[in-house]
């Protein structure tokens, strides 16, 4: 009997509405561990190259890990993997909440969804029993309504629901998967994939808790975390949420403003985390068994804009993409945009950033009111921004074009709007600026699923946390604004660590190599205590390397390699204003860093594709075979 997991993968074939259970070996679980790596295994095995991301050949994997549901902070995470309809490359996204732990208690480690149903259905898993049920009555409903209906219909208020929203039904390419109606697998359009399959929701409930190898040891680790939390660097996250960083980013010239023209937003204060905490914050929410409680719940009952607490509250990214990116300083409007995204299931980063790109196009007169259904889509126009969010959800008018994401929208419109897109591999950049944290330029460029801020450790941590960095072999701290060979090593090594955390499915605020509550060695401890396996930090890092190679291999099969590892033109233009005024990235610096990065990763330098030798070292010879067929 395994510890920490069930050894059961649920396969759901929507073509013929059949359900099967697979029971992989312990060796399989130890190799992939769960989450993203496990999802990639099934995606590569089941989806042929060049499949339509919104067609029946795409495979959507919802994966937990070997530790999900165990009683310690930061483990209740769900990874979704499929080919991305936004990028055409690998799609991959994580979310927390109570759904992940409850799916484990319902008896499964992952759900692999094949095919496409002819009519809307939902999947109900109750203590190991899985069935598909009609979902016509849920189609077109917002996430809060679906949550309520399913809890009433299944006669249990404690079930957890993962669902695609109206945006996913409508094929918005950055549609999210939502759980609790306020936790999002946001990035890369996984909600659109689920919508295309006519799978509206997955409802779960159960009491099947896997055994823990060393329960006493795990309790001790969990208790250490709870005791240490008030003295830790994530204590502020509990009080202020991720929004704590907004003021600091702005002061450093690293708060993307007006579609990345500047790193300083003059009106930052009304949208800052402190302002939110002192005004509209109703309470702090959490994920299953987590001590940090970083989630915001906001409420606005008076004034022209009302915001309901059940849809949570804006994170730093959302405050930036709907705020500074769009030149908007209205916290109520941003909170309402956040509510709309959660009600209808959309990624707040891509949605806000795509609107900011359209505003830039409008300001530069590349598009006009003739394109925008008569809307003056200017920076700071709060009403226009909110109107556009709703148009995107329903694919109405100009919203139908923006629902493709900024890169594909620019391809449709042309007229030079392509030059204003701030995306990598067609995915919009999150709100951390490589101009002031230079290793981000490399990771944004090379990351297989597009620009991501949670795929490695940011530059300041190298010098701020030397003891923790040494745990993963990083002992030569570098300044923030350089991208030399040592910084490339820092970027790749911490990318392996973050990559492993997306397979072991732990929260990157709770575990990590720097400021997080638990350090890298404690992640090793957690895996050992839950599973009983004698894992080491090297094995964990290798798991991260394996997942990264699987993603690159998936992209290679789609014809995506080094040529796609590039930054948008706007990042080679000098920033204006604030502390980062005049800073400009150099293309040569990035190309040299890429050479070093591919070499260090064991990939072909010219193509950026993993070599057979590297794949075989990672027990991925079968992937090398796939690339050669």
């Amino acid at each position: 009997m395994p510890n920490g997991y069930h050894g059961k993968i649920l396969h759901v074939n929507l073509n013929n509405l059949s359900i099967e259970v697979e029971t992989p070996s312990e060796a399989f679980y130890r190799t992939y561990m769960g989450g993203s790596a496990l999802g990639l295994y099934y995606l590569l095995k089941n989806t042929p190259p060049n499949a339509d991301p919104l067609g029946p050949e795409n495979t959507l994997v919802l994966a937990l890990s070997i530790v999900t549901g165990a009683p310690f902070s930061g483990q209740s995470r769900l990874t979704s993997v499929a080919k991305s309809p936004l990028t055409g490359a690998i799609g991959d996204s994580q979310a927390g909440g109570f759904f992940p732990a409850e799916l484990k208690f319902a008896g499964y480690d992952a759900i692999v969804i094949h095919g496409q149903a002819s009519e809307p259905v939902y999947l109900w898993i109750n203590n190991g029993e899985a069935e598909l049920r009609p979902a016509n009555h849920l189609w077109g409903k917002n996430t809060g309504e679906v949550d309520d209906i399913l809890k009433e219909e299944l006669e249990d208020k404690n079930i957890q629901v993962l669902q695609t929203g109206v945006a996913g039904e409508n094929g918005v390419r950055f549609a999210a998967l939502m759980n609790m109606a306020n936790r999002a697998n946001g990035r890369t359009g996984m909600g659109a994939v689920m919508g295309s399959k006519n799978l509206k929701a997955v409802a779960v409930r159960g009491k099947m808790r896997p055994t823990i190898a060393d329960k006493k040891g795990l309790n001790k680790l969990a208790r250490w975390g709870a005791d240490e939390f008030p003295e830790s660097d994530v204590y502020g996250l509990g009080l202020y949420g991720t929004a704590e960083v907004l003021k600091y980013q702005n002061k450093a010239g690293g708060l993307p403003t007006n579609n990345w023209d500047s790193g300083a937003f003059e009106n930052w204060e009304p949208i800052d985390g402190v302002t939110m905490a002192n005004t509209i914050l109703k309470e702090r929410d959490t994920c299953y068994a987590c001590t940090v409680r970083c989630k915001r719940v906001v409420e606005i009952t008076e004034g022209p804009i009302k915001v309901q607490p059940r849809y949570g509250g804006p994170e730093y990214e959302t405050l930036s993409t709907f705020g500074s990116y769009c030149g908007v300083d209205d916290l109520a409007a941003i909170s309402y945009a956040n509510q709309l995204c959660n009600m209808f299931g959309m990624d707040t980063i891509s949605c806000g950033a795509t609107i900011a790109w359209a505003m830039d196009c409008f300001e530069q007169e590349l598009i006009s009111t003739e394109d925008t259904d008569g809307i003056e889509l200017r920076y700071g126009n709060t009403e226009a921004m909110l109107e556009m969010v709703e148009k995107i959800v329903h694919r109405e008018g100009f919203g139908n074009i923006l629902a493709e994401g900024s890169a594909q929208a620019a391809e449709i419109i042309g007229r030079g709007t392509e030059d204003l897109v701030v995306a990598v591999k067609k995915m919009e950049l999150p709100a951390h600026m490589p101009q002031v944290k230079r290793s981000l330029s490399l990771i944004y460029a090379v990351n297989p699923f597009g620009a991501d801020h949670q795929s490695h450790e940011h530059d300041p941590s190298y010098k701020d946390y030397p003891e923790r960095m040494a745990q993963i072999g990083l002992t030569d701290p570098q300044p923030n604004k350089v991208l030399n060979e040592e910084k490339v090593k820092f970027a790749l090594t911490t990318q392996y660590m973050y990559s492993a955390m997306d397979s072991i499915n732990v929260c990157q605020f709770v575990f990590g190599p720097a400021w997080q509550l638990f350090d890298s060695s404690q992640l090793v401890d957690a895996v050992r205590l839950v599973t009983g396996w004698d894992v080491t930090i090297d094995e964990i890092l290798q798991n991260g390397q394996r997942r990264l190679n699987l993603m690159r291999a998936f992209n290679a099969r789609e014809g995506i390699g080094r040529e796609a590892d590039k930054l948008p033109k706007k990042l080679y233009k000098a920033l204006v204003g604030g502390k980062s005024d005049g800073i400009v990235l150099e293309e040569d610096e990035l190309e040299t860093a890429k050479d070093n990065y591919y070499r260090l990763a064991g990939w072909d330098v010219d193509s950026g594709i993993p070599t057979r030798g590297t794949l075989e070292k990672l027990e991925l010879g079968w992937v090398a075979d796939l690339l050669e067929t």
Binding site: P230, L239, Y240, Y248, K251, N278, E315, S461
Partner: protein, 79 residues
């Protein structure tokens, strides 16, 4: 009067005494959070810090009371 200051990791490197996480500090009655930061000789602008008093969000000009616990933090660098 005596208050307890909790310095979070990065800040511990910005005090004259170096690595110190938790300090019992004697300050004048009526002192504010800003006065405490000055007293600790932290070599960063007070405006850069995140603040909490007794587990609640607090402004720089909050007046401290005997036995208060004050958390002084810098924001995390990711997220």
């Amino acid at each position: 009067m005596k208050v307890t200051a909790h310095l979070h990791t990065i800040l511990q490197r910005h005090t004259p005494e170096g690595l110190k996480g938790r300090l019992d500090v004697n300050i004048q009655p009526g002192s504010t959070v800003e006065d405490l930061i000055k007293h600790l000789e932290i070599d960063l602008e007070p405006d850069y810090l995140l603040l909490a008093v007794n587990g609640r969000v607090a402004p720089l000009d909050q007046v401290l009371e005997q036995a208060d616990h004050v958390n002084l933090m810098l924001p995390i660098s990711g997220g």
